[in-house]
């Protein structure tokens, strides 16, 4: 009564196996699979894959047979046969395995998308707008497509300031003219945005009046048509007034006002943003709970709509607290994806802070015990790149940067992971013998 079946018989039977064809299936006795012909000579990976597929086929087959009352169940001889054949001790054949991993089920809340910059369609004069946020997964993860690529805004200051030599040599001739500086950033260094820092307004620097500083904002808006971010001096007493005045002269351009924080009159900045059509950067210092508090106050007390808030949870440089900055951002992003709606905002990083690390600017190590640090002009840019890239992987969207090489590499790295960079395929199969 028993009938031996070959793989081809099963395959042939399955080829016609829709509901109608089932009526014609008759099986007698046990089912046995003969996989003997698959061993030697053929590609072992192929053999393993075929073994896997036939096991699956056999299992289906056994179930169907079971439905018709024949003595074969799941785990019966049909399913077990190929596994047993391949599980022989010590390297007889490959043991087939299928890789599978689930998407994250608890990443159910998308990050808010925020637009910076108004084009003529929205009543502004920017040539294009920048969109950040909108993610439904950690950056570059396979769980969900990332809707917007990372953006880079390059710093401009409203006065000549001390900069690391490697940075300064790119800007020396434009440092007395914020408009020219901004232009150079866009035309030569491929900036998506410009940040104008009104640092001369600090009472301890030049104490430039808010009204004067606002003229510089106008100058930058005239010089370039990318969206801009406007920064104060960091003086908590004066920044609200400076940013409010700047917001007024930039009315309708949807700039990013940097920043509202808990230690200054954030309500004044929020009010200016709403009155003159801008976004608000919500800045806290490496503390997720403060970030929640400030975001909540901006939303509930100041009525800032969600689509106008970006967070700056603080960037510390590589080697100088990047571990805190990285983990703070990663925790914020994970909490947001899992539904904490006080944190579902895009993030911005003051990546320029990397230039504060002594490794990026010092001629050599101050410690005699260290190995030679090598030429500093190559250390600085990569310090900024690694600081920025780390935070990109943690969830940061917008990067405030300084060195043109750093900008180029950060863009290439993040856009590669974003999936928009096409390159000639590289055959790495024989990397061992590569001549380098």
């Amino acid at each position: 009564m028993a009938k031996k079946m070959k793989l081809s018989d099963i395959t042939n039977m399955f080829a016609g196996m829709d509901v109608e064809a089932l009526e014609g299936v008759t099986i007698e006795g046990d089912i046995e699979l003969d996989l003997g012909g698959l061993g030697g000579g053929s590609d072992p990976m192929l053999a393993a894959a075929l073994g896997q597929e036939s096991a699956v086929l056999a299992q289906h087959f056994a179930r169907i047979a079971g439905m018709f009352g024949y003595p074969v169940g799941i785990g019966g001889p049909a399913a077990a046969a190929p596994a047993a054949a391949l599980a022989a001790p010590k390297f007889k054949d490959l043991i087939p395995a299928k890789f599978d991993v689930a998407n994250m089920a608890d990443w159910a809340t998308p990050i808010q998308e925020v637009r910076i910059g108004n084009t003529s369609a929205d009543g502004g004069s920017r040539g294009k707008a920048v969109h950040v946020g909108g993610e439904k997964a950690l950056p570059f993860y396979f769980d969900a497509e990332m809707p917007n690529r990372n953006q880079v805004t390059i710093d401009v200051f409203d006065m000549r300031i001390g900069l690391a030599k490697a940075v300064k040599q790119n800007y020396d001739e434009v440092m007395d003219s914020p408009g020219e500086w901004a232009k150079k950033n866009v035309e030569q260094f491929n900036a998506d945005m410009i940040t104008i820092h009104l640092i001369s307004t600090d009472p301890l620097i030049k104490d430039t009046p808010a009204k004067e500083a606002a003229k510089v904002v106008e100058e930058v808006l005239q010089a370039v048509d990318v969206p801009i971010a406007i920064g104060g001096s960091g003086n908590p007493q004066k920044d609200p007034e400076v940013l409010a005045k700047a917001a007024e002269v930039a009315e309708g351009e949807r700039c990013l006002l940097a920043s509202a924080s808990l230690n200054l009159d954030y309500a004044a900045i929020a009010e200016a943003a709403l009155k003159y059509d801008h976004d608000v950067l919500s800045w806290t210092q490496l503390d997720m709970n403060s970030q929640k508090e400030l975001n909540r106050k901006l939303m509930k007390q100041c009525n800032v709509p969600r689509e106008r808030i970006i967070m700056d949870p603080t960037t510390a440089a590589l080697g100088y607290g990047l571990d805190y900055a990285y983990t703070n951002m990663e925790r914020i992003r994970l909490a947001a994806l899992m539904g904490d709606d006080e944190l579902t905002f895009p993030m911005s990083s003051g990546t320029t802070n990397a230039w504060g690390a002594r490794e990026s600017w010092m001629v050599g190590s101050p410690l005699k015990e260290d190995s030679d640090w090598g030429p500093r002009e190559y250390r600085g840019p990569i310090w900024e790149i690694v600081t920025g890239l780390s935070l990109a992987l943690a969830g940061n969207d917008l990067f405030m940067m300084m060195h043109p090489t750093s900008v180029a590499f950060l863009k290439k790295a993040t856009q590669t992971l974003f999936g928009s960079i096409e390159e000639e395929p590289v055959d790495i199969s024989n990397w061992i013998a590569a001549e380098v």
């Binding site: 390297f91 087939p96 210092q285 590589l318 990569i382 590669t416 590289v426 790495i428």
Partner: protein, 469 residues
């Protein structure tokens, strides 16, 4: 780890509170097991007494990390990789830093091999009380000649006791290398779809860890790992291929994410450490060597953060190595350790009444940086750590955690008296807190000198400005 509360671990302990482990109670010891700061071996009764043998075995199974730990090399410099239990460092911490191995080609002449190996072995960077170091040497069989490969492996082994990776797809070449390095427990690279039987047999014969390699094919990779595990090989490392640019690099990144997620989620057949090859940056046709090196560092950064446990790299330029080793340290630093030192007056060297007085913040990193800069240059001084909630100088000045009043409080609490304990009544303040100078003169009633913006410049500053005139 299959359990997550001390109570679950406690069930398997002797429960006698004998104290031999150094903890007052078995429950206290159980919490150390759960946070992985203690090992079962630290409990003598559990290990020694026969009646606990079964419980010990069960407990070890429950405590085993999700990702298998693999050791490469022997002795003090052996490299331990894998061993992780979480996908994000804040959930616990990541264990066993990503190890950085640098390549040597077997067709280099002997002197060049020795020079390069010494460069790898000697590179060091002082950081927060310790040296950051490089981890090993990967020898590439460029020649394809077993004798030549063996000679290179021998030379490297004579030059350093760092762990080795032997790289060839030719079992005969690998065997020649193993013969001269068999007592060094090198990592074999690699078994693939064509040579897996022979390389697997070498791994068994020489009892060494082995890489299984399948380019951008996770089914094939898992098949190889499963086959090897079934044959009794436990020390497996995964190479899903590292493509240097474009969509291929994105796929590589995705593969690393998938493998680690599956492993942490309990798929034991793929729960092994992962090998990344930033080295392939040098195959991408990037002409300028600085740009190629930068790209290699970019790749190293991606895979340091997302689940690479061991890397093979090429550039030994300090501008490549320094950020790479700092990032590894960044990601693997235990986030549970305190971020701050105690706010107090510290002595650096042997200060006297003539010695200068500095202050900085109690952020551990800031404090240790300043302290090592001063100590390394042989300066005796008083160094006050002001409690700024563990925030660095610049940010604390901006955020109001470092003010003249806070500094005054810190001096008062430390009971250090500027009028009595030193004879100059002068405080040198961080250059980044220059704006506090006036307020500090008022609150401390002392002469305030603004020091350099970076503590690395204190020695030069001292030459010009100390003692005060």
């Amino acid at each position: 780890m299959k359990i997550n509360s001390p109570l679950q671990a406690y069930k398997y302990l002797p429960q006698t509170n004998c104290g031999e482990c150094g903890e007052p109670t078995c429950m206290a010891f159980a919490s150390k097991l759960i946070d992985r700061s203690g090992k079962t071996a630290d409990c003598p009764p559990l290990v020694k007494e026969k009646k606990f043998a079964k419980k010990l075995a069960e407990l070890e199974g429950l405590l085993a990390p999700e990702i298998r730990e693999v050791i490469i090399g022997v002795g003090e410099k052996a490299a331990k990789i894998g061993g992780d239990d979480v996908l994000y460092r804040h959930k616990l911490t990541f264990f066993n830093k990503t190890k950085m191995f640098f390549d040597v080609a077997d067709n280099m002449d002997e002197a060049a091999i020795v020079e390069r190996v010494k460069q790898v072995a000697d590179f060091r960077k002082f950081y927060v009380g310790n040296y950051l170091l490089l981890d090993g040497v990967a020898i590439r069989a460029v020649s394809g000649d077993p004798a030549k490969f063996a000679a290179a492996v021998k030379k490297v082994g004579e030059t350093t006791d760092l762990p080795l990776i032997l790289c060839s797809f030719d079992p005969a070449v690998l065997k020649a290398g193993l013969e001269v390095a068999k007592d060094k427990n090198p990592l074999l690279y690699a078994a693939n779809k064509d040579n897996w039987k022979e390389v697997g047999e070498l791994a068994l014969e020489y009892k060494v860890p082995v890489v299984v390699s399948a380019l951008n094919d996770l089914d094939a990779l898992k098949t190889l790992a499963k086959t090897f595990a079934d044959a009794g090989i436990q020390d497996i490392v995964l190479d899903p291929g590292t493509v240097p640019v474009g969509k291929g690099l994105k796929n590589t990144f995705t593969n690393f994410l998938k493998i680690r997620r599956a492993g942490i989620d309990g798929d034991t057949e793929i729960a092994y450490p992962i090998l990344a090859l930033p080295f392939t940056a040098w195959m991408a046709g990037i002409e300028d060597p600085v740009n190629a090196s930068y790209w290699e560092t970019v790749m190293a950064s991606m895979f340091t953060i997302r689940y690479g446990d061991i890397m093979i790299l090429h550039s030994m330029e300090p501008y490549a190595v320094l950020p790479e080793m700092h990032l590894v340290d960044t990601i693997y630093t235990d986030p549970r350790t305190p971020v701050a030192v105690d706010g107090a007056m510290y002595q650096v060297g042997s200060p006297t009444a003539d010695s200068p007085v500095f202050f900085t913040t109690n952020f551990a990193l800031t404090y240790y940086t300043v302290e090592s800069d001063i100590a390394s240059n042989g300066i005796d001084c008083w160094l006050l750590a002001v409690d700024t909630d563990g925030i660095g100088v610049e940010a604390a000045v901006a955020g109001g955690q470092l003010t003249a009043d806070k500094v005054k409080d810190a001096f008062d609490k430390s009971t250090f008296d500027l009028k009595k304990d030193v004879n100059h009544n002068t405080v040198i303040i961080p250059g980044l807190s220059a704006r506090l100078q006036g307020d500090l003169e008022d609150s401390l009633g002392a002469s305030i000198k603004v020091g350099p913006m970076d503590s690395g410049r204190i020695p030069g500053w001292m030459e010009k400005n100390w003692p005060p005139k």
